[in-house]
């Protein structure tokens, strides 16, 4: 598979690096005790520290550190036992301190790597450059008043982890898969809820293009992409824009750009010359962050089984295909659901039911697995009814639809509706005989060599039995009787 882009003058390769800003799940902000709930009244979750009142001082929230270290470990990255908080200085009304407390030269997490599953089945390694802790800014609202900007400081000081990748991705698809994978890991370990709509997870994409094999081109940074769709669109658009500029003899200036989803294009936000000089320096209000071996070990021990490990286990233990396994492990809730269903049952059958039937319906209604009207135990019960031949697979689909609608149990539905499969040879034989007797011309055709008609007869018998006849038995008896 080639991800090369065709320009007017030949082929181009895009190079993408991503910065993911993930909000840490915590009751308090990075340096204050204020609450962090989404959707609260504006300025209702602001401490004196968050509002940068005179004389206020930051105190590090240990939970934020724990989550950053756990995330670093889950991303197979090096934990830096000594890291430093630094101030990133710039003026903006929703940045009360006039600086963001972040980490600069010495982040809490260093280099690492994760594997991503590409749609063609390949596995690609994406390297992590670093992960650091930083404060979020507040929110400026320009649409509340004709001439004024309103500021909401609820987000001010909320803990973010910035996860920086190396420029390892070569297509928008890879970027999307990478973000999806990181998001999945964060959700597994519950360090970030990954909710892009609420802004808990945002991306900046660094995009450049080059001729295959050339040095890296000049990159542009596209800020604040808050959905996977926008991420994909912005990258694709930006790469094509750069190719056009270069092919027209122009140069790409290094700059920061914004993606406009309405117009489907990126536009310049500020050039390199206009770029802020952030004047980073170590924050003198905070001591360096020094982590003991024991602390890091305890964080490691606190991690659940991670997606890659779990995927391997699904393949080796349950015999699932790599594809099915990767679909199932994407969300911890899903794979937990699956394992409950598969426990003591035919795992492949369970995987089919979860992936095709359950996901199909959940996706249609936009319902998360956690709120599925059919719980894992109930789906397991349904599969049991198939396995012990109480119902046929065909009937099971109807029962499942009913379960999804009404929330009733499989056995109850089968009983209520009298869907129990007919396996009595005498009954089935009678039904087969009746169909054969009613269609003598078709029997002649069949006997003359039109073997396909067996399917038609099957359908007639199943219809006559309201789908309840055991299909294998129908098939066997049909062939036996029709052949005379």
């Amino acid at each position: 598979m080639s991800d090369l882009l065709k320009g007017n003058t030949g082929e181009w390769e895009m190079v993408i690096g991503l910065e993911i800003h993930a909000q840490v799940i915590s009751n308090a902000k990075l340096f204050s005790g204020a609450a962090t709930a989404f959707g609260a009244e504006p300025n209702s979750q602001v401490s004196l520290v968050d509002a940068a009142m005179p004389g206020m001082l930051p105190v590090l929230n240990e939970e934020s550190v724990r989550q950053a270290v756990r995330t670093g470990l889950a991303l197979n990255s090096k934990i830096n036992h000594h890291s430093v908080f630094a101030r990133k200085n710039y003026f903006y009304p929703d940045l009360p301190q006039g600086y963001q407390i972040s980490q600069y030269e010495l982040p809490v997490v260093g280099e690492g790597k994760i594997e991503i599953d590409l749609p063609n089945g390949d596995i690609k390694v994406v390297e992590i450059e670093r992960l650091h802790l930083e404060q979020d800014a507040g929110k400026s609202m320009h649409d509340q008043h004709p001439t004024k900007t309103y500021i909401d400081l609820n987000r001010s000081g909320v803990t973010l982890m910035e996860i920086v990748s190396k420029p390892d991705m070569r297509s928008a698809e890879e970027a999307v898969v990478y973000v999806t994978k990181v998001r999945s890991i964060l959700r597994y370990i519950e360090s970030c809820d990954g909710n892009m709509q609420e802004g808990s997870l945002r991306c900046d994409a660094n995009v450049s293009v080059r001729r295959p094999g050339d040095e890296l081109g000049t990159r542009c940074e596209i800020k604040n992409l808050n959905s996977l769709r926008f991420l994909r669109q912005a990258i694709d658009h930006e790469a094509m824009r750069q190719i056009e500029v270069i092919e027209d003899g122009g140069l790409i200036p290094q700059e920061t750009r914004l993606y406009d989803p309405d117009k489907g294009e990126t536009r310049s936000m500020r050039s390199k010359e206009e770029a802020y000089d952030y004047r980073y320096f170590p924050d003198p209000d905070l001591l360096p962050l020094d982590l003991s071996e024991d602390f890091v070990a305890a964080m490691k021990a606190s991690l659940p089984e991670l997606p890659d490990v779990r995927k391997s286990r699904l393949v080796s233990e349950f015999g699932l295909s790599a594809y099915d396994a990767s679909v199932l492990v994407a969300e911890r809730e899903t794979v937990d659901y699956f394992e409950t269903v598969a426990n003591g049952r035919d795992a492949k059958l369970a995987a089919n039911w979860v992936i095709s039937d359950l996901f199909g319906r959940l996706n249609k209604t936009g319902t998360p697995v956690s709120q599925s009207p059919v719980k894992a135990e109930a789906l397991g019960e349904l599969i049991d009814l198939i396995s012990d031949q109480t119902i046929s697979g065909r009937i099971a689909k109807d029962v499942f639809a009913d379960m999804f609608e009404t929330g009733k149990g499989a056995a109850a539905i089968v009983e209520d509706k009298g869907l129990r499969q007919v396996t009595d040879t005498g009954t089935i034989r009678a039904q087969v005989q009746a169909v054969i007797d009613a269609n003598p011309d078709k029997v002649v055709d069949y006997r003359a060599g039109n073997q396909k008609l067996v399917g038609w007869f099957m359908g007639q018998v199943m219809q006559a039995s309201q789908g309840k006849a055991n299909p294998a038995m129908v098939n066997q008896l049909l062939k036996e009787i029709i052949s005379g």
Partner: protein, 492 residues
Amino acid sequence: MKLTELTIAAARDGLAAGDFTGVELTEAHVVAMEASRPLNAFVTETAEKARDMAVASDARRASGNVGAMEGVPIAIKDLFCTEGVKAAACSHILDGFTPPYESTVTKNLWRAGAVMLGKTNMDEFAMGSSNMSSYDGPVTNPWRADGDDAKRVPGGSSGGSAAAVAAFAAMGATGTDTGGSIRQPGAFTGVVGMKPTYGRCSRWGVIAFASSLDQAGPLTRTVRDASIMLGAMAGHDSKDSTSVDRPVPDFEASLTGDIRGLRVGVPKEYVVDGMPGEIEALWHQGVEWLKDAGAHIVDISLPHTKYALPTYYIIAPAEASSNLARYDGVRYGLRVDGESLQEMYENTRSEGFGAEVKRRLLIGTYVLSAGYYDAYYLKAQKVRSRIAQDFHDSWETVDAVLTPTAPSAAFAQGEKMDDPIAMYLNDVFTVPASLAGLPAISVPSGLSSDGLPLGLQIIGRPFDEETMFRVAGVIEQAAAFTARPQFITGEA
């Protein structure tokens, strides 16, 4: 004796003996505070609050609940946030700012029973050594030179606090010291000025100048009073990550007067060009006093001393340039509107900050800028560690260090105003201990030939304020400094 002339220790005894009440003591000081207005030492007087606190203090005393500073009226530098009382760091940009919270240090003092008289004048945002940069106008030093009517500066930045204590308008006052802002005004006004070890006092609620240097400390008329007051101010505070979690010793108990066998270092580098011979002479006198008391005098070298001042004037402005970014007109204090956000920022900060603050913000912004950071800020941090190492090495051979506090006596208001470097030189002897985070105290030890007070500085090991106090007590006793300023409240 007038109540305003009592030391804190004496007032404590008098209150305990029932010779007078806290209300009487406070009332006398309210009168003195009002009489001190020609000095411009106070920028906010809180007489009513003082009376209420005194009444409450007497009530506590009656119920047997007596704190270390019970009933003692003190002044608070305007840099401390005081709940419900304006705190503006004597800057226009904090116009009308009344904090809804109380700094940890002042809270500790109130818990110990102290009474607040008011807020004292200071150099704007504690940037200065003369109190000339205050938006509320200069402070006049209660001292005049013999045969010279020129008004003198009280030093800075804690100039108002020093003047208030020197003029007997307050029994003690809080100051903050970043590069000498307690010790130098102490020396200029003939009072004791003490800066504790960095981390000893919480910085929470103290308007920041340079976070890695700022420390609160007391200004008092005696070493004993300083030891009592520091004990009430100090203590670990979980709200300040740089505050140190260790017990606060009984500082007063360290004043044994016995320094026999103690090793006191005299660093050869503490001499600057143009320093009056009488300051060097006083220093030698101090050495003799300590010898007479049985101390061993050790000649030491602190070789990086000469780099301290330039180092300080990189690090402190760098931190300040970031610390003062929050004064942007958006949330509190002054806002001067403009056509755009940018213009509002520019108008607010242009009008809101005075010249000295602007100079330091520019210096600080410059030294942190891309391309200059390594040459200035990073280099300065490295030199700072060398300076700290100098002291660290010397602690192997000495237990305390004796130096002059400042290279001159109080100068006239308006002097050095056109020469920032000359002004910065005021801090040359106080800055090294600040950079090293060490406790240091200035003790009034003599008069200049024209009758102005001079101080000697004792620097101690980290968190060994006790030895520092003990040596200071011996100097104080030997110096027997009894001279009085020309302006004394109630006499002027």
